[in-house]
């Protein structure tokens, strides 16, 4: 029953001529068997390829792209995260304006397990009633940064009159390590000190000249990426190329043996590790290595003499999924949370139909 499926990567066309092509290839395999969970259970497999700190790569095999895309969309937009939402500035005489400073602080990723907090119920605008709110539903974290660069009058004179502005002497750099967590209510008994705080200690927030002063209190809340990108639990800036993303497994087939110079050209036109050269007697012979690394650049089609030697394609039902966490939670937990969110959506709809809810029918 296994039909080998592939999507050809030809010289001029895109991956598929139109959107339906991807589906129709998959369809050949499933049309006679109407899709149901039992069939899905039999066919579907997951293989975890690599977990490296905050990055994770795994394979989803025999699944439709609508599932994979749903996971991706949920990870980016709907899995929650804690981030700084309110900044109460008591004093800020630094070069950075209040609103810019507040924005910068909001983007600092926080390590705090969002599963142990609840969403806030209402807008809180006053620093005095924070405590009342959180005591019931500890949805909030207060973080304080207080830095003062001591005033030295002689220094100020030299600073402004002797082009001191351009040197780094006496300049205090305010890093995210200065952000300290103040527990509210019974949070002190529920969390360890090292459980809550910024993920990275070396994020530069501001530079302070002598006499500059920053004194503020911050409030972190739970939110989702749909609302603001700072609540996005998957990465924005680390070493991987993407946040949560998927691609199809590339497939490369050599139609005939390629030797020596041609083999080297062949190797150079794919990503590193995709084509390996083996020395057999006096000849260098090209062999297909790890196709997973290939980025499907189609560079091979630049060489008229080489392009007929290879067949470049993709497996349409083999997805390579990568997640890069910001650091609040490990990526495998984020994926499980994403599934949970989808399950809850289903549960809500089922309940609504059973209760003949008005929102569900038109």
């Amino acid at each position: 029953m296994k039909i080998k499926m592939k999507l050809m990567l030809s010289e001029r066309d895109g991956i598929a001529k139109n959107y339906n092509d991807v589906d129709s290839i998959f369809e050949n395999n499933t049309k006679n068997i109407n899709w149901n969970a039992k069939y899905f259970e039999k066919e579907f497999t997951i293989k975890i390829v690599n977990i490296d700190g905050l990055n994770m790569e795994f394979d989803l095999i025999n699944i439709n792209s609508s599932f994979v895309n749903a996971f991706r969309r949920i990870l980016i937009a709907e899995v929650p995260m804690m981030a700084i939402e309110k900044v109460f500035i008591f004093n800020n005489t630094s070069f950075i304006q209040d609103e810019v400073l507040a924005h910068r602080l909001g983007l600092i990723p926080l390590k705090a397990d969002f599963r142990r907090f609840s969403f806030r119920k209402s807008e809180i605008c006053n620093p005095t009633n924070i405590i009342d709110h959180s005591r019931i539903r500890f949805a909030l974290v207060i973080i304080e940064a207080k830095v003062r660069n001591a005033v030295d009058f002689e220094c100020i004179r030299s600073m402004y009159y002797e082009s001191f502005l351009f040197s780094n002497i006496r300049l205090v750099q305010l890093y995210s390590e200065k952000i300290k967590w103040i527990p509210i209510g019974d949070q002190i008994t529920k969390f360890r000190i090292d459980e809550i705080g910024p993920v990275h200690d070396d994020i530069l927030i501001a530079k302070l000249r002598p006499g500059h002063d920053i004194d503020l209190k911050m409030l972190a809340v739970k939110g989702i990426g749909k609302d603001h990108a700072k609540f996005q639990p998957v990465g924005k800036y680390l070493k991987l190329k993407a946040t949560a993303s998927y691609r199809l497994l590339p497939q490369i087939k050599l139609k005939q043996t390629v030797k020596n110079e041609e083999a080297q050209k062949l190797k150079a036109s794919f990503s590193p590790g995709v084509i390996e050269l083996h020395k057999i007697k006096d000849d260098l012979i090209a062999k297909v290595g790890n196709t997973r690394n290939d980025l499907c650049s189609r560079n091979i089609y630049r060489y008229e003499n080489l392009k007929d030697y290879v067949e470049v394609s993709r497996v349409p039902n083999h997805f390579i999924f990568t997640i890069e966490s910001v650091g609040a939670l490990p990526p495998n937990i984020l994926f499980l949370e994403a599934i949970k969110i989808l399950q809850n959506k289903c549960k809500r709809i089922i309940q609504d139909i059973e209760n003949k809810g008005s929102t569900c029918f038109l």
């Binding site: 109407n34 899905f40 293989k47 969309r73 989808l342 289903c346 089922i350 139909i353 059973e354 929102t359």
Partner: protein
């Protein structure tokens, strides 16, 4: 409950479902599953305006079926599939941790 079709015979065979606060994430997934159910004649979804945050799903079923039942079965099937994904992911994590410890 409004049904925008006057034909009495076909009335119970088709319906527009209105899902609030949902987007393409669920719309695409549900139409994929419903289109592959043997009872379904037609299924498609639309989001009429990007700011509206409402998903409309149109479902027509073959004769002898109930639209609501078919729709509900589709969602239940989706829920089952997600349970399977969750299960297999946890198992795969176990295997990975064993191999790398």
């Amino acid at each position: 409950m409004e049904v925008d079709n006057n034909d009495q015979d076909e009335k119970d065979l088709m319906r527009n479902f209105k899902l609030e606060n949902e987007d393409h994430t669920l719309g695409n997934l549900l139409t994929y599953i419903l289109n592959r159910m043997p009872e379904t004649e037609f299924c498609a979804y639309s989001i009429q305006h990007p700011t509206e945050n409402v998903l409309y799903l149109r479902l027509k079923v073959k004769k002898g079926n109930d639209v609501n039942e078919v729709f509900k079965n589709g969602v239940i099937e989706l829920k089952k599939a997600l349970d399977i994904v969750e299960d297999k992911f946890i198992k795969a994590m176990g295997i990975y941790n064993e191999e790398n410890s």
